[in-house]
Structures are given as C-alpha cells and as structure tokens.
C-alpha cells in the first residue's frame, strides 16, 4: 500500500545507515549477466541450481529404474549406479538446496524484506555467483572425464573414496573435491553479504524482532553455513592431498588390489568427524530457511499473525546452535568410542524440543485462521505433514540402540528424504508459487499448480512411505541389486517396482511445473504489486518486479512487525509493515 502518505515519521529514529552507493549498470552485460543487483544474482543462482537439480532428478530416475527392475536395463552397471547415487546426493544437498535457499531466496528476499537497496557488497555478491557457477561446471564436467564421476557415496568416506576399486577414482574424486572447495569459497562471499545485510543494513524501524521469519531462517542458516563449511573445506583439502600427493591423513595401512598400498597411519574416523561437523548443520542449513519461509506462507495464507513469534525466533536460533553438537549421531556404527553415543543421542533428542515448538506454533497459527487453500498454502501444509513424519523417524535413528539395526537400510533413505528432501522441496515449490508474482509480475496458473501439488505430495508419500517398511525388512541402501537373499521377501521386489513407477510419474509431473513457469511468464494473469495482500516489505515496492535499488526515491520506514493480519477494527485484514500508526489509530482504540 504505497499510496498511503508518510506522516508518522515522528518518533522514528533517524537513519543511521548512509544510503547505499548503488552500482548503476551501463550496458546489457553488466545489467543482466555480470550484474551486481541482488535480484538478478538471485535469479542466476536459482536457474543454475535448478538446472543442476534437474540433472540430479534424472539420476534418481535411473537409480529407480535399476532398483525397480533389476537386470532389465543393460545400460546401467553397478559402477554407474554408485556414481548416480553419489552425484544425486551431492547435487541435491549442496548444489541445489543450499544454493537455492541461500543464494536464490536469500539474495532476492533479504534486501527486499529488510528494506535495503541491495546487499552491502554487490561486487562480492556477484563474484559469489560466478564462483558458484564454476563449481557447478567443475562438478558437471565429471560426467565427461575418463572414469566418470566419483561413486564414493555423497559422504565420500575414505579410504574407499580414493582407492582404485571405487568408480571415478582417477578424475571424479579430484574434481568433486575441487568443486566443493570452489563452492565453499563462493558461498562464503555470498554468505558474508547476507549476514552483514541483515545485521547492519536494515531500514529505519526494522528491528531484529520485526524481521519476517523468512529472514530469520535464512540469516541463521547462513551464519551456520559460515561456521560449518570450514570443516568440509578442511576435509576436502586433506582428502585431495591424500589422493594427489599421497599423504595419509585419512588413510590407514591397507591392502589394495592384493598389494600393500602406499598409505599408512591415518584416521578414517577423522574424516567422518569433519564431514559430519559440516554435514549435520547442513541439514539445518537447508531446513531453517524452509522453516522461516513456511512460517510466512502460513501466516499470510491463513490471514493470521504467526503464533508465538518470539519463540519461533528463539527456536530457530536454538536449533542452529544445537545442531553443532549432534554430528556424531551419524557415526553410531562407525567404530568411534561407543560411549560418545550417549552424549550425542541426548543432544539429538533435545533438538526435538525447539523443533516441536515450531510445529505446534504452525498448527496454532492455522487454528481458527481464515485459511485460503491457494497453491503456496497447500505446499506449506504438505511441508508440515512431511516434516513431522520425517522428524518422528529421526527420533528412531537418533537413539543408538534403534539406529544400529536400522543404519544403512532403506529406512535411513526414507527418513532423510522425508525430512530434508521432500520437506524443503515442498517449501521451495510453495515459495516459488508465492513469490513468482513479485519476481515476474504475473501469477502462476492455479489449476496447473494444484495438479502439481497433489501429484507431488501424494507421489512423494507413495515413494518414501513404503521405503520405511523396506528398511525395517532390512533392505540395504546403496545396493545395486539385492540378488538371492532369504531375508528379503519377494513382495519387497514388487514394492520396489511400485516405488519406481511412482517416482517416474512424479518426476515427469514436474514438467507441468516447468511448463507453468514458462507459460505464465508470458501469458499469466497480471498480479499487481501485492496479490496475496501480504504485510512484509517486499510486497510494498513501488514497482513490480522491483526496480534497480528496490525502493524508488525513499527507503520505506517500518512501524510494526511482519504479522499484522486480521487486526480487529482495521479497515483491511492486513496492515503493511510500512504503514504508519496514524493511519490505524482506530485499531489501537479497538484493541486496547
């Protein structure tokens, strides 16, 4: 509601932050390609991440073809299967989800939601994207080098990751490590921008406790990433040295292909500790932005303020902090000192408390809300259900005694796909439906969107729910084929075939979504500036899509929190954050 005249600036503190010196592009190249505008960088990040994500999606189809119909497809051999698994996992977790949430949504939403004109260091932000693109290209190049990509599994555990029995031992593993190092360098440049922008470049009136939860989620996740990625960086450097220079950081003395290898004296467990010191926070680096975004989707589409905003913020921060002391729950069967398990099981179960607070608060936000079942809301609801499901199986796996028989089975695969695969992707899709109108000025097609949601949501359940059962039967993960086993009943094979058929169907239904994105760009209904009647600042920009510098002449001034929905006595069921109190004086009277 930009047409409301500013009058109530009295009492608002003066601007502490000097207005940003914007870089003004002078040519098409600097405007759209080597752009320093966070919005353009966000779109570049999103498109690159989606493109490599589609590759990972195709890899999952190939894996499902093999698992569902073993022996039918002669073009998939055991080595390739391992390579598909590795690349699928690595791409989805790091190059798709991390890059999309932080580089994509972070770049687009942070400056708009905190009322800044751009990130604080646009040039560094631009470099961040180009280094990320380089990392993706290096990763993709492994498909074309001799030996192909590495087949070590996305966890890349030594010693097998660099021994000659593992596919991709020549080039694959070297390029994978190089790509990870590049990714971390690129991410650090972007991440510093996101953190400093949130901390130091907010507009007048935007206190930390008025930030939309989306910003809180992305901010906390970025801080975590800046502290967790160093461990992966160090692990990658050391593994690269082990492979290239023959150092033995992670390599014990062992016999390779019948001869004693050149290695000796290293500790494979050290790699696992470093990897999971990164790897567990990584789960929440992906989950916290999803938590934040889904809070905003639910509040907006249920026309109700978020329940317990303060607790939601503290829960995000607490989850972020706790996630740094739970990493060894991934290592119960690794051979580490067994009594560590007590500590790590305890901390793991403690994380359930702030997480449960968040789930209850989402549900209580929905309680007696004016729920509009629009596509973003459907995806948000789908997220809650999937996340609760994945979280509950997490309690199984967090306990040592339950984890030991279940580890390395399909149960684990089902668990982490539910909790950090499907659930964040639900939020990504919901968020795209939600913010597409702001990015393009057009609505996505509603009917196609609903079709997309139901196929994706039900399909995801049909794929991953039976996998829990397969895991309980003892079907192992990462096996090329099951062969003749007595403990796996033949029904498991039919179930595998069923899962594969559903997976392919759901995968292809994503084409509907891609079509919708492309079609709506040109033919979609014009959305106007604020189609969802939302309160947060990004919907109050003078132009849609927001122009260079976001806010026209003057920065917005914020007078209230992000969740003034259905305020009793207000003229409309939402009050934008930048609407001064004078325009709503009757509201104060009504509520006090």
């Amino acid at each position: 509601m930009v047409d409301i005249p500013y009058e109530g600036t009295r009492g608002i503190p003066p601007a502490e932050v000097p207005d940003v010196e914007l870089y003004h592009p002078r040519s098409w190249w600097t405007r759209y390609v080597f752009s320093q505008d966070a919005k353009v960088i966000a779109i570049q990040y999103s498109l690159t991440a989606s493109a490599i994500g589609l590759v990972a999606l195709v890899l999952s189809w190939l894996m499902r073809l093999q698992l569902g119909f073993p022996g039918t497809f002669s073009f998939i051999d055991a080595n390739q299967y391992l390579q598909f698994i590795t690349m699928h996992g690595m791409i989805m977790v790091i190059y798709l989800l991390t890059a999309l949430f932080l580089g994509g949504f972070g770049n687009y939403l942070i400056p708009l939601m905190v009322g800044a004109r751009d990130m604080v260091f646009p040039y560094v932000n631009m470099l961040s994207y180009w280094v990320y693109l380089l990392a993706v290209l290096v990763l993709a190049s492994t498909f074309f080098v001799p030996g192909g990509p590495t087949g070590a599994g996305w966890t890349l555990y030594p010693p097998q990751a660099i021994l000659s029995g593992t596919p991709g031992q020549d080039w694959g593993i070297i390029l994978m490590m190089s790509s990870l190092i590049l990714f971390i360098i690129g991410f650090t440049m972007g991440g510093l921008n996101y953190v400093v922008t949130v901390l130091q470049a907010r507009t007048r009136g935007m206190t930390l406790m008025r930030l939309p939860l989306t910003v809180w989620g992305i901010f906390t996740a970025t801080v975590m990433a800046l502290l967790a990625f160093p461990a992966l960086f160090v692990a990658s450097v050391m593994l690269l040295l082990d492979r290239l220079l023959g150092t033995s950081f992670f390599m014990p003395a062992l016999v390779e292909m019948g001869t004693l290898s050149k290695y000796g004296g290293g500790s494979p467990l050290l790699f696992q500790h470093l990897f999971w010191f990164f790897g567990h926070p990584e789960v929440y680096i992906v989950a916290l932005p999803a938590f934040g975004i889904v809070s905003d989707l639910i509040s907006t589409h249920a026309r109700k303020n978020i329940f317990g905003y303060r607790m939601m913020v503290w829960a995000i921060v607490a989850i972020g902090a706790l996630s740094f002391i739970v990493w060894a729950h991934h290592m119960y069967v690794s051979g580490m000192f067994p009594q560590f398990g007590y500590f790590f099981a305890t901390t793991t179960l403690i994380i359930a408390i702030p997480t449960a607070i968040k789930v209850y608060n989402w549900v209580l936000t929905l309680w007696r809300g004016d729920i509009h079942l629009r596509v973003p809301m459907l995806f948000a609801l789908g997220f809650i259900i999937t996340f609760v499901n994945g979280g509950l199986t997490g309690l199984f796996l967090g306990n040592v005694v339950v984890d030991v028989p279940l580890s390395d089975t399909m149960f684990v695969v089902a668990h982490f796909h539910m909790v950090m695969g499907v659930a964040p992707i639900m939020v990504v899709l919901g968020a795209i439906y939600h913010w597409y109108p702001k990015v393009t000025g057009r609505m996505l097609n509603d009917a196609l969107g609903k079709f997309h949601f139901w196929v994706t949501f039900l399909g995801a359940y049909l794929i991953f729910f039976p996998m829990h059962y397969l895991g309980l039967l003892g079907v192992p993960r990462r096996y090329f084929e099951l062969g003749d086993t007595t403990f796996i009943p033949s029904s498991a094979h039919s179930l595998n075939a069923f899962i594969s058929v559903v997976a392919l169907t759901v995968g292809f239904s994503q084409l509907v979504f891609l079509f919708n994105l492309a079609w709506s760009l040109f033919k979609g209904e014009a959305s106007g500036g604020n189609p969802w009647r939302a309160t947060t600042l990004e919907w109050q920009t003078p132009e849609t899509p927001p122009g260079h510098g976001n806010w026209g002449k003057e920065l917005p001034v914020v007078y209230r929190w992000a969740y003034d929905y259905s305020v009793p006595g207000a003229a409309e069921d939402f009050i934008p954050q930048n609407q001064p109190p004078r325009a709503t004086q009757h509201v104060q009277g009504a509520a006090s």
Partner: protein, 240 residues
C-alpha cells in the same frame, strides 16, 4: 497484538539491565553493532569463519599426531639450525615469529596514522608491514627448502610419522598463503593511500565504490588475525 509491534512515537525505550538489555541492544533498529561499518563487520565475520578453518586444520593435525603409532619427529631437532658452529633449536622459527609479531606493531601504527590522514607515514608503515610479511614468507620458503633437501615429503620423512610432513606442509602452506594474500592487499592499499584515493574518495576499479581510511584498519584486522593464527601454529606445531 497490534501494539506489540508498534513504535511508540516520541518515547525512547527505557534502558534495560543485564541480559534483557543486551538482547534489546542487539535487536535494535537498523544496526546490531552501532558505529561499525559494513566492511568492518564483514571482516570480523569472515575472520570468525576463517578461525573455524584453522581450528579444523589444527585439530586434524593434533588427531593425526596423537593417533599415529609411529614416533613423531622431534620438532626442536628438525627445526634446528647450525649457525657459526652452534646448534640452535627452533632459531629460524623464533626469528620468523619475531618478524611477524613486529609486523603487527607496524600495522597498528599504520592504522593510527591512517586515522590522522597522514598519507606518507601510513603508506610507509604499511609497506614496512608488507616487507616484514614478505620476509616471513621468504624464511618459510627457506625452511621448506631445507626440509625438502633433508628428505621430508608430504608422504614421508626420514624420522618418523609421515603425517609430520603432511601436516607441516599443509598448515604452514595454508598460513603462508594467508600471509601472501595479506602482503598483496597491504601493497595495493598502501598505493591507494599514497595516491590519496581516500582523501578524494576516488572510486575503486572493481567495485566502483568510494574508499575510506577505515580500509587500513580493516586490512589491519586481517593482518593481526594472521599473526594470531601463527602464534597457535607455533605453539601447537613447533613447541609441542
């Protein structure tokens, strides 16, 4: 609910004590760290991240050293030099440490003169700092050469655990890279200071942003950090 989010016109919030006060300060309007520029905040956060990198390197080295079954070479012997017939342990490392810590002193003076807008002294002290840094890297190159001549390799050495050479080259190499990057930045910024870029607020070549004398201090933060890291490497690698 509406009131909780509203600004009270004309009333400044009362000062709160203790944790509540800290939380209120942090969460306050526009900036969490008052009077801290973006560049400085960014450097501090970067250094926090870099601290984690060096911590992981050092912890990995310590794990390797503690878990190896082969004896670890004695650093006092390995890093000893024969000078004029005297066998002096750790002498080169001692000189390197002295040089690097001295460079922190000249850097601090450069920051001081920077805020006084004394272009020549600032630039000169930055160049002295860079020279100390380059000397440090040079001595490190000497040390590497000496060890390589004696047969130390990343995959083995004549005296014991192969992880000795691996950790040594990796950690000092990573730190040396930091010092080298610092030297390059010191020279580049000393040039800008000398040319008067920060007095006329000339725009940067890459970023097209105006520069300020604060950049000297931000470079200094990085430089002091690199020195501090060296102290830990010195303690954990050479003195242990």
């Amino acid at each position: 609910m509406a009131e909780t989010g509203l600004t009270n016109p004309g009333q400044s919030p009362a000062q709160l004590d203790g944790w509540r006060g800290i939380a209120t300060d942090w969460a306050s309007d526009q900036r969490a760290f008052k009077n801290v520029s973006w560049g400085k905040a960014m450097m501090w956060i970067f250094l926090l991240s870099d601290t984690f990198i060096f911590s992981c390197f050092l912890l990995s080295y310590m794990t390797a050293r503690m878990s190896t079954t082969v004896p670890w070479p004695n650093p006092s012997e390995v890093f000893a030099l024969n000078i004029a017939g005297n066998h002096i342990p750790l002498i080169l490392i001692a000189i390197m440490t002295f040089v690097l810590i001295s460079s922190s002193g000249t850097m601090a003076m450069a920051v001081n003169f920077g805020y006084r807008r004394d272009r020549f002294r600032t630039a000169a002290l930055m160049l002295v700092t860079a020279a100390f840094g380059a000397t440090f890297v040079g001595m490190q190159a000497f040390e590497w050469t000496k060890l390589i001549m004696e047969g130390v390799r990343p995959w083995g050495n004549p005296w014991g655990a192969p992880q000795f050479g691996a950790s040594f080259f990796m950690i000092t190499g990573f730190h040396g890279t930091h010092v080298t990057i610092g030297v390059i930045f010191l020279i580049a910024i000393a040039r800008k200071v000398l040319r008067g870029d920060f007095d006329v607020e000339r725009r940067g070549f890459f970023t097209s942003r105006k520069g300020y004398y604060e950049i000297v201090e931000i470079t200094g933060l990085y430089w002091h950090f690199v020195d501090l890291v060296w102290v830990f490497i010195f303690a954990f690698f050479y003195l242990w």
